[in-house]
């Protein structure tokens, strides 16, 4: 295969090309994708990328390359949040109401899931909250269920993973650990059974 540069990449040229790709990417770029786009071997890409990440660690830099949602991405460093956050508030508003957070948690752990099913779990029509989450980019349609006439199913997005700083859904906190303890369950049950307890 012919290389785009018509010659073997030098480490420096490959590093620069990867840097350029990361600047224009709207989603995290995985190492395979970088390798395919640059037509350089995965191993070389990874080595170059590791060095590049290291360079941006320097305190002189206000930005860094972070690994998130299964790929690499340019991001501002947390210490500049005060300055950057003010500028970007309109574009990057991440605040969510408790209802939206609960809905997001349900989608995150039960995806792919229909709006209707979310409404059933929450016991209240959740269409508007689901729309808000889609507009904010946290969830997206993921096709339809397998039966004819099935509803649209939703899943979380890479933006969701980015905002939470997770590399994959597998890094979500384990649901089982947050199930109510036996004591709580018993107390709830008692509340629904015996007036005296």
């Amino acid at each position: 295969m012919e290389s785009r540069l018509d010659h073997e990449y030098s480490a420096e040229a490959l590093s620069a090309a990867i840097e350029a790709l990361l600047l224009v990417a709207v989603e995290p770029l995985g190492i395979e994708e970088l390798s395919r786009l640059t037509e350089a071997p995965v191993r070389q890409c990874q080595a170059v990328l590791n060095d590049l990440c290291g360079e941006y660690q320097s305190p002189r830099r206000g930005i860094s390359i972070v690994q998130v949602a299964g790929g690499y991405r340019f991001a501002t460093k947390p210490e500049h949040f005060e300055v950057v956050g003010e500028y970007a508030r309109e574009t990057y508003d991440a605040r969510l109401s408790p209802a939206a957070l609960e809905t997001l948690a349900i989608v995150a752990y039960q995806q792919p899931i229909s709006r209707r099913r979310v409404s059933v779990i929450r016991g209240v029509n959740s269409d508007a909250v689901m729309r808000l989450l889609a507009v904010k980019g946290y969830i997206e349609p993921a096709g339809r269920g397998t039966n004819p006439g099935s509803a649209v199913l939703y899943r979380t997005t890479t933006i969701f993973l980015e905002r939470l700083g997770l590399n994959s859904l597998g890094e979500l906190p384990e649901l089982g650990k947050y199930a109510p303890s036996l004591e709580i369950a018993e107390a709830f049950e008692a509340a629904l059974r015996d007036e005296s307890s």
């Binding site: 600047l23 224009v24 990417a25 709207v26 972070v66 991405r73 340019f74 991001a75 501002t76 460093k77 947390p78 949040f81 950057v84 956050g85 970007a88 574009t91 990057y92 991440a94 969510l96 109401s97 408790p98 209802a99 939206a100 957070l101 609960e102 997001l104 948690a105 995150a108 752990y109 409404s119 779990i121 929450r122 016991g123 209240v124 029509n125 959740s126 269409d127 508007a128 909250v129 980015e162 905002r163 939470l164 700083g165 997770l166 906190p173 649901l175 947050y178 199930a179 109510p180 004591e183 709580i184 369950a185 107390a187 709830f188 008692a190 509340a191 629904l192 059974r193 007036e195 307890s197």
Partner: protein
């Protein structure tokens, strides 16, 4: 289509119940069902006053709660029809399971919230392609006419009206609170002195109204304002005003 959505509405009946339980006491062993039922009903009442549509689900949960409460208020335990008991237990178990599920998601949503707060301190570049490479991007208007643009717009708008909330999903709450039920019973018995339960609820069209009035009777009975008599289970209930 005129409707109004308020923040409150986003909390479902199970979530509301959970909030009330957690607001009631830090010690979950001290939960009082009576005030739970009262709080739940007055919250539904408040939402109704905000002129909001209240989901059927709220009414169903209220009915289950009321049923649980009714059973406790009843002297003795004569309602020993096995099928009915089992059905009641199932309903209560479902409510319990949903409460525990709601608590799980509520707790974990706190974790997601703190991850989001931390994640927010690091902002990603979303600008995408710069003008310097604009010429390398395919043209979205390639092979597209003004009519094509209109078609895309109309298809989008049609899809949007399809995804409207179905009006059947929510129903208005029947217009009766526990207080109103008690007032109605007192007024009714004040007029006729003695009445059957069937006569009392003859003008009530929904299950929840009947349940409300049944609960009202039990409360008035506890307060010693009325006398209740019934020959056997499922026989006619007779109500009589005291004093």
């Amino acid at each position: 289509m005129a409707y109004e959505v308020k923040l409150d509405v986003y909390e479902g009946p199970i979530g509301l119940l959970l909030s009330l339980i957690q607001a009631q006491s830090v010690d979950v062993y001290q939960i009082s069902l009576t005030s739970l039922v009262g709080d739940f009903l007055s919250e539904i009442e408040r939402r109704k006053q905000l002129d909001l549509e209240v989901a059927t689900e709220f009414v169903l949960v209220a009915a289950t709660l009321l049923e649980i409460k009714c059973r406790r208020l009843l002297p003795g335990d004569d309602l020993s029809d096995l099928d009915e008991e089992t059905a009641f237990d199932d309903e209560r178990d479902v409510l319990l399971a949903r409460l525990l599920e709601a608590k799980t998601y509520r707790d974990i949503s706190q974790v997601l919230s703190s991850l989001l707060t931390m994640g927010q301190r690091r902002l990603f570049r979303r600008v995408g392609l710069g003008p310097e490479v604009a010429h390398l991007m395919p043209d979205p208007l390639d092979r597209v006419s003004a009519e094509g643009l209109l078609a895309a717009y109309e298809a989008l708008m049609a899809r949007q009206s399809d995804s409207e909330m179905p009006a059947t999903h929510v129903t208005p709450l029947p217009p009766m609170s526990l207080d109103q039920a008690r007032e109605k019973i007192s007024a009714h018995l004040g007029k006729v002195g003695v009445s059957t339960f069937d006569a009392l609820v003859s003008d009530s069209s929904t299950r929840i109204e009947v349940v409300m009035q049944f609960l009202g009777i039990l409360e008035l009975y506890k307060l010693g304002e009325i006398e209740i008599s019934q020959q056997a289970a499922f026989e006619t209930i007779t109500l009589q005003r005291l004093s």
